[in-house]
Amino acid sequence: MATLETPEIETKDKSDLDSVWSVIVHNDPVNLMSYVTLVFRRVLGFSREKAERHMLEVHNKGRSIVWSGSREQAELYVQQLHAHLLLATLEKAPPP
């Protein structure tokens, strides 16, 4: 009788799944401020005011945390921001 091999399933580390992840947008001198604001509104669903606040934070401080939550969703947001040519990364948020 044939035996089934136990499949190797790659899973993310449990601590990664439990952690809070942040999406960071980094400053870029080329992307227009109005364009960055538009992308924040479209991708992250921000109001115009919130989008402008984060855009200015990126511009003045070099980076802004635009979203925090599950790793899976953070990866999706980073992908969408890259699709709009923004410099975005995800990083594990420090424990509270």
Binding site: V30, S34, L38, R48, Q79, L85, A88, T89, L90, E91
Partner: protein, 161 residues
């Protein structure tokens, strides 16, 4: 003088486009497709700065980057098709339409071109805030192109916001 008019259906009509401007618009894809490794790095940035994220970086390279590559290329091809559809005016200038459904493609292609030009010419913050000089100089000409593409981008952002 070139005019841009927003039509009732949300499309945009560029009229009285002289040959110089037309050629500059047709060149949108050239810096992106130059094969310059700096451009490649800027178009496809890493999703994490953490050196311990090798799996994520590998997945990104094999799964996400090809998707982004195709999306960027599709946007550039959409722009090229709109420009190929340009018609001659009696005065030797051209006119063409950007359909409403192509606005995002133009935004993307213009942004791709600006980012690529900045990488190729290594423009600094200072460069980006000054006016271009002698346009016979390829670097100054690139700076002018960035400014022109940026103006069209601003206009599209304004009408789509």
């Amino acid at each position: 003088m070139t005019t841009i008019k927003l039509l009732p259906d949300g499309s945009a009509r560029f009229d009285h486009v002289g040959d110089d401007l037309y050629q500059i618009l047709c060149a949108i894809r050239e810096p992106v497709e130059s094969g310059n490794p700096l451009v490649e790095s800027r178009m496809f940035p890493q999703p994490s700065e953490d050196s311990g994220e090798d799996d994520l970086l590998d997945d990104w390279k094999s799964l996400v980057e090809p998707e982004l590559h195709d999306a960027f290329l599709a946007a550039r091809e959409s722009v090229a098709a709109d420009l190929r559809g340009a018609q001659w005016n009696a005065d030797g200038s051209r006119h063409f339409i950007i359909p409403r459904s192509h606005m995002d493609n133009w935004l993307s292609a213009l942004n791709q071109a600006r980012l690529a030009l900045a990488e190729i010419h290594q423009f600094t913050d200072e460069d980006l805030s000054r006016s271009p000089g002698d346009l016979e100089d390829p670097t100054e000409f690139a700076l002018m192109r960035m400014s022109l593409y940026g103006s069209i981008q601003e206009w599209i952002v304004a009408i789509t916001s």
